[in-house]
């Protein structure tokens, strides 16, 4: 399968080239998303080791990571200048929505953590 590996290499090269062109603020958001998803995976691995009790704590931990990752992706979508649908949404408003949703998310997580 040399064509497959070379295909994969070309794929990765063109992807990284295209990605390098994205603006810095979007790259920061992407970093945050990757960090959140990584934290979630660590928590799942830990749950695999020690079991699911107490389940509500496990769920609140994982869902807080997934939730904040998803909200960050939504923020990225709204702030990205290439998206024509969100042309007239000021980035400050998008960030304020993001902060508000995160606040609600973490309040619920605090209640659910037990």
């Amino acid at each position: 399968m040399p064509s497959a590996t070379s295909d994969a290499r070309v794929l990765i090269q063109s992807l990284s080239r295209a990605y390098a062109a994205t603006p810095t603020n979007l790259k920061i958001i992407d970093l945050y998303v990757v960090f959140a998803v990584a934290t979630a995976l660590v928590q799942v691995a830990y749950m695999g080791l020690v079991g699911t009790f107490p389940f509500n704590s496990f769920l609140s931990g994982v869902l807080s990571c997934i939730g904040t990752a998803v909200l960050a992706v939504c923020l990225r979508i709204q702030v990205n200048k290439d998206n024509k649908e969100f042309k007239d949404l000021p980035p400050e408003r998008a960030f304020a929505d993001f902060v508000l949703c995160n606040l609600v998310l973490h309040l619920v997580i605090m209640n659910f953590l037990g």
Partner: protein, 720 residues
């Protein structure tokens, strides 16, 4: 024309002349205010006719829990273990109810008290449902404006204010979850559609809170959590997806799921139950879908993207199906519960779960019920669907899906007409509003046509207008005739709804009314008479055995412990009671001793002709009892498959406990002129066993019209 009329007013008032926009706003606000008041008032028939009391059975439990909440506070309510029902098991009330309704009523009560209105909690409970019905009309207006335009919104508000399908479960006194839940349902849907239309995180957060309110209010939230993923799927498949959809659904799903898990009764179902897996599946699908979209946009190269697509799709599908299969097979993802499975397979409940099948509200719907509850909306609904398909947008696709799915479920189960009512009202409002708008436009253009057709040398626009006007010569008259017809139909709808509400949906069920010989109204208040007798004449720790229908009322009004009640969470316990009712007196006495029963309560309609009594429900007791204890066999109680109580009845039927308790001393009573004593007015026969002797029970109380009969269980003899 309005400005010309205003010329005749005196000078100072002329400054109040409004511009057209302000006139329109005034009209709209005043119409909505009138609709709001109408929705509240039309539900007050039973309060005016009888008194302000709670109706039916389930609302009594809700009332009792609300009373507990206002007296003992939120923490006690959340952790309440009730030992007065389901003796000797008790019930974890805090973890097995939907608290939304009780908390709402308690908050309203506190708010009114803070304003120094010294209301009793019962008044607040009775009027909660009409208040929320009025709020629903406002949400319907906003939703209609979102889908179509403000005209459709106003028509939708007017239609839903008096729609009998909704009134049936939200009259004053019907203090049940649905009164608040339909408001929460429509609010959630409106906020979600607004979030999809605007793509704003704030609106998605609002819809997540709406979903949380719905989950706290009613078990029917499962409809929302399945309709929204279905909607997203339809949008993805038809290619109408956009970034706004991603933002709206994801925020709503994650926050909504987290908020919903705060309700103890729901618990971890959002990640463990089969009914909620569609939402999770669509969540992951959306991530994969939009990730691929983003990669495609970044690569800008079709061939590379194809190979990437192939790899990712195979990975995603394998992982997804593997997780689903492992979860279902290992039992971690629980299958659909009987309540909701019987919606997909209507024959399931009859064979497997007789308790669900026995409830009259769970039967399939007949056409007459649809006509009764919807009238003209039935044919406006397909017309509205046509208009929605003509102008497809994200919002109209949603309302079409909501309408079609809810109509399917309304056909399967009568009580789900309630869930379909808002959708039907909205879609019919689109049809009505669009039709009337077109007709009035026709009338208006016709009056301008002489000027348009005179300028023959002007451009093509005028020529086209002239051509349209000249095509139908009687257009103007036809439009006026059609408008009059439309107004006539809408007025018939209003008359029908008022009549239906007054005749069919305003009876409290706990107080019965009939017409006497001279035409005057006779009120039977036997239920409350019996419950208050229990409250005042039995020891406080007495245990009452009755069929589960009356459990909530006995605990709420009689304030005594019951063996089974309407929660029906324990089928074996109910079957034990059913077995006791269907056995001979000595076998029943053993069962009653094992349950510490002190009093037995039965409902008997033979004297008054009241047909919802225990003898008519008896076969269900036999079926449910026989489902758990094979010693009870249904054919023992039937003669040639026929259910009889007269001389030709089966011997087991004539001597079982229920028969004896209902017909004790009835053989001496003459109920109707010209008929022999012991004539049962409901079954229409003379009873078979008139000489009943009770060995282990004695009659304690029979109400004035013999509707409720209470028997005391004698203690065991000193010498056996």
């Amino acid at each position: 024309m309005a400005t010309a009329a205003l010329e005749f007013l005196p000078a100072p008032l002329r400054s109040f002349r409004l511009k057209t926009k302000q006139q329109e706003l005034l009209l709209r606000v005043s119409t909505l205010a009138l609709i709001y008041v109408l929705a509240f008032i039309v539900r007050l028939f039973s309060v005016l006719r009888y008194e302000s009391m709670i109706h039916e059975f389930d609302p009594y439990f809700n009332y009792r829990t609300t009373l507990f909440l206002t007296e003992n506070g939120y923490s006690e309510f959340w952790n309440w273990f009730d030992f007065e029902s389901w003796y000797p098991l008790g019930r974890v009330v805090g973890g097995t109810l939907f608290p939304g309704l009780m908390v709402t009523a308690a908050l309203l009560y506190r708010f009114l008290r803070a304003l120094s209105f010294a209301v009793h909690i019962r008044e607040v409970c009775v009027l909660t449902a009409p208040f929320f019905a009025a709020n629903t009309t406002l949400v319907a207006y906003a939703f209609g404006r979102e889908i179509w335009d403000s005209g459709a919104g106003i028509v939708a508000a007017a239609l839903i204010a008096i729609c009998p399908g909704y009134i049936s479960r939200s009259v004053a006194g019907s203090y049940d979850n649905e009164g608040v839940a339909i408001f929460a349902l429509l609010l959630t849907f409106y906020l979600f559609v607004r979030a999809v239309n605007t793509g704003s995180l704030a609106w998605s957060l609002a819809s997540a809170f709406g979903y949380f309110y719905m989950v706290s209010a009613w078990g029917g939230y499962v409809f929302i959590i399945n309709l929204l993923p279905l909607y997203v799927l339809v949008l993805l498949v038809t290619g109408r997806y956009s970034m706004r959809l991603y933002v709206a659904y994801n925020c709503m799903y994650v926050l909504g799921m987290l908020l919903a898990m705060q309700i103890r009764f729901v618990g971890f179902q959002h990640v463990q139950s089969g009914e909620h897996m569609a939402a999770m599946g669509v969540f992951f699908l959306l991530q994969v879908f939009f990730f691929l979209d983003w990669v495609k946009y970044m690569l800008n190269d079709a061939r590379l993207f194809k190979s990437f697509l192939r790899i990712t799709l195979t990975c995603a599908i394998t992982v997804g199906t593997l997780a689903l299969v492992v979860g279902t097979a290992s039992g971690y993802i629980s299958p659909w519960t009987g309540r909701f499975y019987s919606l997909l397979d209507p024959t399931y409940a009859k064979d497997h779960i007789p308790i669900i099948a026995s409830v009259s509200e769970h039967q399939p719907t007949a056409w007459s019920s649809f006509m009764f509850d919807f009238q003209i909306l039935l044919f406006l609904f397909p017309a509205g669907l046509y208009f929605c398909f003509k102008r497809l947008s994200d919002a109209t696709i949603f309302i079409v899906m909501y309408g079609l799915t809810s109509m399917y479920f309304a056909g399967v189960m009568v009580r789900l007409i309630l869930v379909a009512a808002p959708a039907v009202c909205l879609i019919s409002a689109i049809a009505a509003s669009a039709t009337i708008k077109n007709l009035t436009t026709l009338i208006r253009t016709k009056s301008k046509s002489p000027q348009a057709s005179s300028g023959k040398t002007t451009g093509s626009k005028a020529a086209a207008k002239g051509a349209v006007d000249q095509s139908l010569p009687f257009q103007h008259n036809a439009a006026i005739a059609l408008l009059l017809g439309a107004f006539y139909l809408l007025s018939r709808y209003a008359i029908h709804c008022t009549w239906v509400t007054s005749e069919a949906y305003s009876s409290p069920s706990i107080v019965l009314a009939a017409r006497g010989h001279n035409g005057g109204r006779v009120i039977f208040d036997d239920y409350r008479e019996a419950y208050y007798w229990l409250r005042q004449n039995t020891p406080p720790d007495a245990k009452i055995m009755s069929w589960w229908d009356y459990g909530y009322q006995i605990t709420a009004m009689g304030n005594r412990t019951v063996i089974v009640d309407n929660n029906t969470w324990n089928n074996t316990h109910i079957a034990t009671v059913g077995r006791a009712m269907s056995s001979y007196e000595d076998e029943a006495y053993e069962i009653m001793q094992s349950l510490d029963v002190n009093y037995v309560l039965v409902v008997f309609g033979g004297v008054t002709g009241y047909s919802s009594d225990d003898i008519n429900k008896f076969l269900w007791m036999v079926r449910i009892g026989g489902g758990v204890f094979p010693v009870i066999k249904e054919p023992d109680y039937l003669v040639n498959g026929e259910y009889r109580v007269d001389k030709g009845a089966a011997p087991k039927m004539l001597n079982c406990l229920m028969y004896k308790l209902c017909y004790y001393r009835f053989g001496e009573l003459t109920t109707e002129y010209g008929k022999p004593p012991g004539y049962d007015r409901v079954r229409g026969v003379e009873i078979g066993n008139k000489d009943i002797k009770l060995e282990y029970l004695e009659e304690a109380f029979t109400t004035s019209n013999w509707i409720v009969r209470i028997y005391k269980v004698k203690p065991p003899k000193n010498r056996s």
